[in-house]
């Protein structure tokens, strides 16, 4: 899966990929203060023996320990737990679910907007592909809205970027691809070689997306993310 980190202070964006095996679960957001955490499980393409297999998120789990609430979203269904009681929906629903501390809007075959507590919202987008395509299958996208409402203790592959981040880019030079220049970036006391590129934001147009120019950090975000990407591998979606 690819990650895009918008940095409003710099009016720019950072991006990186995490390449892991299908089935691996990554901790994306964890806020011990609000009790909210989000993890994502990776899926691969339909055919397994493909060189440079692309990976995506196929399953996301949202937990709010304070409200004893869990939400599991797959490309097939959406399951909501309050304690042991569960409610199931499919992507064929257009439904607004409201309960104490949670608002969940499912927009049929498009997206889900989850609002927890006083304001933090997550948008999960269903990327549907033609079911007869030989390689690809449906996958999910996760976007965070109003991330400033999360506490300063928030961490995770995405969550660590909810706090202001500073970086500097210099020595912009031609890269191996003429349309994508390389540069040197100073971030978190690391000197990294980055590449100018584009990634897609699918919030408004889930089919085509809109292109976001960003500085791409190679090697699973090494140097940009705290520690190694394997530090974010967890055993279970919840």
């Amino acid at each position: 899966p690819h990650f895009i980190i918008r940095v409003p202070e710099k009016e720019d964006a950072l991006c990186f990929n995490i390449n892991e095996e299908p089935g691996v679960v990554l901790n994306l957001i964890r806020d011990p203060s609000t009790g909210i955490s989000i993890s994502g499980q990776i899926i691969g393409e339909k055919k397994v023996n493909v060189k440079n297999q692309k990976t995506y998120f196929g399953r996301l789990g949202i937990v709010n320990t304070r409200a004893d609430l869990k939400i599991e979203v797959t490309t097939q269904k959406i399951t909501l737990w309050k304690g042991l009681d569960q409610t199931n929906f499919t992507w064929m629903n257009t439904v607004m679910v409201k309960q104490e501390g949670l608002s969940l809007q499912i927009n049929r075959k498009k997206n889900i907007v989850v609002s927890i507590g006083d304001g933090v919202s997550f948008v999960i987008i269903l990327h549907q592909v033609w079911k007869n395509l030989p390689y690809h299958h449906d996958f999910l996208g996760l976007y965070t809205v109003d991330s400033h409402r999360m506490s300063v203790q928030t961490h995770g592959l995405l969550g660590q970027f909810f706090h202001p981040i500073d970086f500097e880019v210099f020595d912009v030079r031609p890269g191996s691809d003429p349309s994508k220049p390389d540069a040197t970036m100073m971030v978190k006391n690391h000197k990294l070689t980055v590449t100018r590129g584009w990634q897609k934001d699918y919030r408004k147009d889930p089919r085509h997306g809109s292109e976001v120019p960003c500085w791409f950090i190679h090697n699973n975000g090494a140097g940009l993310i705290d520690g190694s990407h394997t530090d974010y591998i967890v055993s279970d979606i919840f």
């Binding site: 909501l80 309050k82 009681d85 569960q86 409610t87 199931n88 929906f89 499919t90 064929m92 629903n93 257009t94 439904v95 607004m96 679910v97 409201k98 309960q99 949670l102 049929r108």
Partner: protein
């Protein structure tokens, strides 16, 4: 004479064709016969159809001359009927038959060598019940038939998820001529036994085909709702799945008067014990027993914990019959208990309450004026929860029970005195045991839709379906949104259905299975049914208005409803006779042929009574 000739009459064929489109069933029963005798003979045609169905047409063709049935306002038909009665020339054509059916019978004298064709058409909206739609056909030919055939074509735009057909008379041999198949939106059932396969034994001339033929199916439910539009009328089906069950607070108000003595009480206890086994721990319950007095199991509602359920079972096992029938005090105690539990927050905030009352007799002690009991109950419940009335047997005022249930958002159900009465009670409980949503309201844009059928329901039960139909005001409307709001066990839910009018209409019109104006007829059927039900709760001008509306629709759409009659003119010895097909009413069963004591003091009858009724 061949085996197909009985008493000089040969039946060429009987064909039952059912076309179901979006749960709306259009059934045509055609029988062709000939008088092979050398004298005039009476040929009769019997069809048993569901009580929920409306006859829409009947014709009788004798030697090429067709005698159609005319559907008229009941009063108009009655005048004609009375005139004919005075001349001794009439017969009622329809009467109640058992629990689910009513029987249409017509007979006609046919000259030697003459042929007759009978054709009866009836329609009904199949109701979803415990997760299935059921179409019920009673098969009982009086003799062997050259060509006997049942053909059912089902078209469901949501796609069919399961389809089955079975008959109580099925043998291995007959299984070979029963075909059932479904794929995508279409389902098909066919049953065509040969003449030999119809024989009750290898050389017999009597028919093996005698019993119930039932077709059951369900549709795909990827989406909780489905809206269909044809010719400016729409129908909206709503049945979400996989929602948690809303906890319920149930008060069972049980008649234990002397008339419940014997098998009735044994069956009631068996049903209650089974129901207790199915109770969920988050539910609350209590038992209120009424006879001349009222006794309660506990003073307040009790949580259905395993320990409490064990105690409840012991209580049920020890229920004894005694005394008379004090319906009013029994109900009032139950209502008070539910109201107090809600006020004192004893029961969960997100839970729903209901009363299930079972009685086998009429109120005869305490407040016995039915109007006053109704008023008391209505004022005490104030629309806060539904009342379900189970009427055990026939020796009771069913109209009163039904009216009281309807005005308190519930329904009445008759429990037939039979070996399976306990199963009937359990079956009813199963229907209302799993509420998934409460206070359900279906909303449409005001200026886009008109003449909608009932759009708010106190409960949506698992395995059932909410159906709302209406008319599009603007024929050029491109799209509209339907919202269904309800409270679930954990949360408030609003389901939204975006309807693309043109696309939906186009998709349905392309299907060959559809019989033209079925959504309009479905709407008319549902509207009439609901108007008739509402009519039971009101008086005076309001009742007149509802009656007028229901009558107008019954006549416009040619439905034999409780407000209309079908007059059939039969040629008899060159004199035309008239017969009338009326819809029998549930509250007024066939006359009971034995008397029954309803009042006695602490002296139950020495032996149980047995009686037969008109069924």
């Amino acid at each position: 004479l061949p085996d197909t000739v009985l008493n000089g009459i040969e039946v060429y064929s009987t064909k039952i064709s059912c076309k179901v489109t979006s749960r709306f069933a259009h059934n045509v029963v055609v029988t062709r016969a000939v008088n092979r005798a050398d004298t005039a003979k009476e040929i009769s045609f019997d069809v048993e159809l569901p009580k929920t169905a409306f006859i829409t047409s009947f014709t009788m063709t004798i030697d090429g001359v067709t005698y159609p049935g005319n559907i008229k306002e009941k009063e108009v038909a009655k005048k004609q009927y009375d005139k004919a009665v005075s001349q001794g020339k009439t017969a009622g054509l329809v009467k109640a038959s058992g629990r689910k059916l009513e029987k249409f019978t017509v007979s006609v004298n046919v000259a030697a060598g003459s042929k007759v064709t009978f054709e009866l058409i009836y329609e009904e909206l199949l109701k979803r019940h415990l997760g299935k739609y059921e179409m019920f056909l009673k098969i009982q030919p009086k003799q062997l038939i050259n060509h006997f055939e049942i053909e059912a074509d089902i078209f469901e735009p949501q796609g069919i998820s399961s389809l089955d057909a079975e008959a109580t008379f099925m043998t291995n041999d007959l299984l070979g001529v029963l075909t059932k198949s479904f794929s995508g939106k279409k389902g098909h059932v066919s049953f065509k036994p040969t003449l030999d396969q119809q024989r009750s034994c290898s050389n017999c001339t009597t028919s093996l085909l005698n019993g119930d033929f039932t077709i059951t199916y369900d549709v795909n439910r990827e989406s909780p709702a489905n809206v269909q539009i044809v010719n400016g009328y729409f129908v909206h089906f709503f049945a979400p799945k996989d929602l948690p069950v809303v906890p319920k607070n149930v008060v069972f108000v049980i008649d234990v008067s002397g008339s419940m003595y014997g098998r009735k009480l044994v069956q009631t206890k068996e049903a209650l014990l089974k129901i207790l086994e199915d109770m969920k721990e988050e539910d609350y319950l209590n038992f209120i027993l009424f006879s001349s007095d009222v006794t309660v199991w506990k003073d307040t509602l009790i949580k259905a914990t395993p320990e409490n359920l064990k105690e409840a079972k012991d209580f049920v096992k020890n229920i004894q019959d005694q005394g008379m029938t004090n319906i009013n005090d029994g109900l009032m105690r139950g209502i008070k208990m539910l109201n107090e539990a809600r006020e004192a927050n004893v029961i969960p905030k997100r839970s729903t309450s209901l009363i299930i009352m079972l009685t086998d007799g009429e109120a005869n002690v305490g407040e016995s004026r039915v109007e006053k009991i109704q008023e008391n109950v209505r004022n005490a419940i104030e629309g806060k929860f539904p009342l379900y009335n189970l009427g055990f047997g026939y020796n009771l005022n069913y109209d009163f029970l039904e009216k009281m249930a309807l005005e308190n958002h519930g329904l009445a159900r008759r429990i037939y005195e039979d070996s399976d009465a306990d199963l009937q009670m359990q079956g009813f409980y199963d229907e209302v045991a799993n509420p998934l949503l409460v206070d359900v309201e279906v909303q449409y844009p005001e200026n886009a839709i008109a003449d909608i059928t009932q759009n708010n329901y106190q409960h949506f039960y698992d395995g059932s379906e909410i159906v709302v139909a209406g008319r599009l005001v603007d024929q050029d409307l491109n799209s509209f949104t339907a919202d269904v709001k309800g409270q679930g066990a954990l949360n408030d839910l609003t389901f939204t259905e975006e309807v693309d009018v043109k696309e939906t209409e186009k998709a349905l019109k392309e299907q060959k299975y559809i019989f033209g104006d079925f959504i309009e007829r479905l709407w008319a059927y549902l509207t009439i049914q609901q108007l008739l039900e509402k009519r039971k709760n009101v008086q005076g001008e309001e009742k007149e208005n509802l009656t007028a509306q229901a009558l107008e629709l019954s006549l416009k759409y040619h439905f034999v409803t409780p407000l209309t009659s079908m007059v059939v003119t039969k040629p008899e010895d060159n004199i035309e006779q008239e017969a009338v097909a009326d819809k029998p009413l549930e509250g007024k069963p066939e006359p009971i042929t034995s008397s029954y004591a309803t009042q006695y003091h602490h002296q139950p009858p020495a032996k149980p009574y047995y009686y037969v009724d008109g069924d």
